[in-house]
């Protein structure tokens, strides 16, 4: 436990006389080295710190936050939150803060990431730049590390504290007209191998060298795990239980029904050490949750008010694990006459919230395959697609791999992915 957090918590407990309160404290030490076109363009370091206090007098609430922890700042914090609450109108959806909870034990810290020296981070950047120059290319990206501590206490007795580390390295290589990207994002350094990472980038770039023009049309796609990640994030944002129950999303009335493809299962899990799992959010303890099981909707994220109002259990998506299969990319290419392999999506946005339709572009390289073999690269495309309907067209899944601190996803072969336009590169 951070001793300063405990000191702040003790002060708030002693001086805040509201009927109820929740105190969030967060501290992050960051170092971020940004490089572009083979040189460093930004380089940042320092702490960020925040104290947020939400108070309630009966069901009138107020909230305030500050970035200093001296007694005068804490007094001001309490006074501001209480003033807001006393001037506010009653909130019919007020829910008292959580009481004591048993929280899962998680391990989200990697000492190697926490102790990583700035000079070593710059060495990584220098290595990538040297490799790019030797390949007659330019490289741009970000190397970053963060060590975070956060705490939540409530007047009703909830106490939560957790620490985590995050090491990230992303880079985009440009050689002639080829642009492609790889990224690493994890709580630790264990899987990071700078030589392997650059080779992955280089191989990806080489595979894209022969690029030809292709028109947009529905076609089978192999979504590599990083491409799938973006799509799934946006889809899960639409899965809020209340919004669905109130009729705003495509999931209205679908709880417990087969709505996704039967090959599609999505979980949040505490049991995979490779991905992070925060122990709590908003006082809700994290626990293993099945969101979608073989296409059936089993749970949707439910906030504390909606859970209480409808006699449900509150829950939250604290990481994403999509159970994979054992199909290799080569096997997937054999399963359809022709198709595209996608590395990444870009600029995904909602088109129709009720239908669940999204739009977006491909990015960082698109490969065309036919008769089981990659033939050449093609231009980027725009899609307009409804993800839950796309899961009904899943033909095969690859093994799941960690794609981000809190995501572990497979590649998917999806038939008839709806491309509607192309761009000029």
């Amino acid at each position: 436990m951070n001793a300063n957090f405990e000191k702040i918590a003790a002060y708030i407990k002693q001086h805040c006389h509201a009927d109820d309160f929740s105190l969030h404290i967060g501290h992050v030490e960051s170092h971020e080295t940004r490089f572009a076109q083979n040189r460093i363009t930004q380089h940042l370091a320092g702490p960020t710190f925040s104290i947020n206090l939400t108070v309630a007098f009966e069901n009138r609430t107020g909230s305030a936050s500050v970035t200093q922890d001296d007694p005068a700042s804490l007094d001001k914090l309490i006074q501001t939150a209480c003033d807001i609450a006393s001037l506010n109108q009653p909130d019919p959806e007020f829910v008292p803060s959580e009481g004591p909870k048993e929280l899962p034990q998680v391990q989200n810290c990697d000492p190697a990431a926490q102790e990583l020296e700035p000079a070593k981070m710059v060495d990584i950047v220098q290595y990538m730049i040297d490799q790019a120059k030797a390949f007659d290319a330019t490289v741009s990206g970000l190397t970053e590390k963060h060590y975070s501590q956060r705490m939540l206490i409530t007047k009703n007795g909830f106490v939560g504290y957790d620490e985590s580390t995050d090491f990230g390295h992303s880079m985009t290589l440009k050689k002639g007209t080829v642009e492609t990207k790889v990224s690493y994002d994890s709580k630790g350094l264990a899987r990071f191998d700078q030589a392997a990472e650059f080779n992955r980038l280089k191989e990806q770039a080489i595979s894209l060298a022969d690029k030809r023009d292709m028109d947009a049309a529905p076609i089978a796609v192999i979504l590599r795990p990083y491409a799938l990640q973006d799509l799934i994030w946006y889809m899960t944002w639409m899965m809020d239980r209340r919004m669905s129950d109130e009729g705003f999303t495509p999931f209205t009335g679908q709880m417990g029904k087969l709505f996704f493809g039967e090959k599609f299962s999505l979980y949040s899990t505490l049991d995979i050490p490779a991905i992070k799992a925060v122990p709590y959010r908003d006082g809700i303890a994290s626990k293993n949750t099945t969101w979608i099981e073989n296409g059936m909707i089993r749970n949707m994220p439910t906030n504390r008010y909606w859970a209480k109002a409808n006699n449900l259990e509150p829950n939250h998506i604290f990481n994403m694990y999509l159970s994979g299969g054992d199909a290799t990319e080569e096997q997937m290419m054999q399963m359809v006459p022709r198709g595209l392999i996608l590395n990444q999506f870009w600029y995904i946005r909602s088109v129709d919230a009720k239908a669940g339709e999204l739009t977006g572009m491909t990015r960082d390289g698109v490969l065309y395959f036919e008769d089981g073999k990659i033939r050449h690269a093609v231009n980027n495309f725009r899609f307009n697609e409804i993800p839950h309907l796309a899961t009904r067209r899943i033909l095969a899944l690859g093994p799941s791999i960690p794609t981000a601190c809190s995501a572990m996803l497979p590649s998917l072969l999806i038939d008839n992915f709806n491309f509607v336009d192309k761009t000029t590169f």
Partner: protein
């Protein structure tokens, strides 16, 4: 403040070629109401300082929230150490800063009624009453209203001798109504994207009347027809909608850091490369875009940027030709400019400033033309109001936009309301298809307060503006 001199002196002692310190206190008051339930009523302060050191062609930036002599000196040392590390990498490819003079100045957003001085109870009562109006319409299932009041108090000092005191603020009210039927839900939103002004603007807006309008329009929209398959049609776009279109397809492509590839790994690069300056036909001859950080009530009208460069006004596109970029001291020299356009801005004290879009607007047409005349002159088209879905590729070429409210135009008349309209176009096709812009009587500003960019990610604000304009032969259709 003594810390300014302390930081600058320390950086110079260590050997910095240039250094600055920005002490920044950011205050936000948020009131968010959904269906008569206050989801967020908060007052948030983010206060600290960032010290930026330039050494042998490289930056180091360190930030801190602890105010003491010891902490300021340690932060300056850290910034210098980081700059030294960066300089080793940049030894063959150094950055250079465009020349700039020193300024001692103050700037304050003109405000008649400070939103932070308006009692919370008054704000909440206005919002509650507006929510009740929305929910009074049968079929409206979701009524939302938020007001964000924002204030930045900055002190800036640099080794050039510049000393600035900049107090800027903005306010953004947003009202939204969502209608639900058995088969669909559709929203209609009043959102002008914020302005650098005071509470007087909220009083002028007559939000309760606006609420009645958007509730009625949401109910029309949810029952409206969907446009058939995509065909080429005329588009008439209102200033609110065009604000987002120009942001994505003109604002971002003309940020010089993107042009240089500095955003290649995340936000993307730009097709509008330097060899196109002065000769590239970006739009038709009636298309004129100004960068203008002196714009009254403009969200990027801050007096000076975070390089200590004063606000300016310049042509970005003139008579349809690409003329210039928005630039910073460290990007300008890369294309041989010996001046910056003052577009370096950071969000919070802990952000290193980056090249941002200035206030950017489309000049009104020079011949008298009303929106009614423009519609009357259009045989087959769609009139789009407000902002909806938006997506553009990372070179800023291909894009697809939706909107908030749509009318089909047939034979010069508004024929029927529509929903789920999308149009697809690309640069330079889109701006070259602009064949009419209404005159200055119909020019309106609209803000963007959440422009995301950078690694680590930052959000910036700027104002766009235009009069209603027509675009010919654009691919327009309904969503799936």
């Amino acid at each position: 403040m003594r810390y300014l001199d302390l930081a600058i002196g320390k950086a110079l002692d260590l050997g910095a070629e240039y250094a600055d310190i920005r002490v920044q206190k950011t205050s936000d008051e948020v009131v968010f109401l959904r269906n008569l339930s206050l989801k967020n009523t908060s007052h948030n302060v983010i206060y600290g300082y960032g010290i930026r050191v330039f050494y042998q062609g490289a930056w180091g930036f360190a930030h801190n929230n602890v105010f003491s002599e010891k902490a300021v000196l340690a932060t300056a040392e850290k910034a210098f150490e980081i700059a030294q590390l960066s300089a080793k990498v940049n030894k063959d490819k150094q950055l250079h800063l465009a020349p700039e003079r020193s300024y001692i100045a103050k700037y304050q957003t003109p405000v008649k009624i400070d939103p932070f001085s308006v009692p919370l109870s008054e704000k909440v009562e206005l919002m509650m009453e507006t929510n009740r109006i929305l929910l009074g319409y049968e079929g409206i299932k979701q009524a939302m209203f938020y007001i964000v009041s924002h204030k930045d108090e900055k002190l800036f000092a640099s080794t050039l001798g510049t000393r600035l005191e900049l107090n800027t603020q903005w306010i953004d009210p947003m009202v939204s109504a969502t209608a639900v039927t058995d088969s669909d839900s559709q929203s209609r939103t009043f959102d002008e994207g914020g302005r650098s002004t005071g509470w007087e603007w909220v009083l002028e807006l007559n939000l309760q009347e606006k609420a009645r309008q958007i509730a009625q329009e949401a109910l029309i929209k949810v029952k409206a027809d969907v446009l058939g398959p995509e065909t080429r049609r005329s588009l008439i776009l209102d200033p609110n909608h065009l604000g987002l279109t120009m942001h994505e397809s003109v604002g971002h492509p003309t940020e010089l850091d993107r042009v240089l590839g500095w955003e290649a790994d995340y936000a993307g690069i730009s097709f509008a490369t330097p060899e196109k300056l002065g000769n590239y036909r970006y739009g038709s001859e009636i298309v004129n875009f100004m960068g203008d950080n002196t714009l009254e009530e403009g969200l990027a009208s801050l007096g000076f940027d975070d390089d200590g460069v004063p606000a300016q006004k310049w042509h970005i596109i003139k008579d349809g030709i690409l003329k210039e970029y928005g630039s910073t001291r460290d990007t300008a020299m890369e294309i041989g400019l010996d001046y910056s356009r003052g577009c370096n801005r950071a969000t919070y004290y802990y952000d290193q400033p980056i090249n941002r879009i200035p206030n950017l607007y489309l000049m009104p047409g020079t011949k008298p033309l009303t929106p009614a005349e423009l519609i009357a002159d259009t045989e087959d088209g769609v009139y789009i109001q407000g902002r909806g879905s938006f997506s553009i590729d990372q070179h800023r070429l291909n894009f697809q936009f939706g909107g908030d409210y749509f009318w089909e135009i047939k034979n010069g008349k508004l024929h029927r309301p529509l929903k789920k309209v999308l149009y697809k176009s690309c640069n330079p096709e889109f701006w070259n298809s602009c064949d009419a812009i209404c005159d200055e009587r119909f020019w309106r500003p609209f803000g963007v307060i959440n422009c995301g960019k950078g690694q680590p990610s930052q959000t910036a604000r700027m104002t766009h503006g235009s009069a209603p304009a027509r675009f010919r032969n654009i691919r327009v259709g309904g969503s799936q």
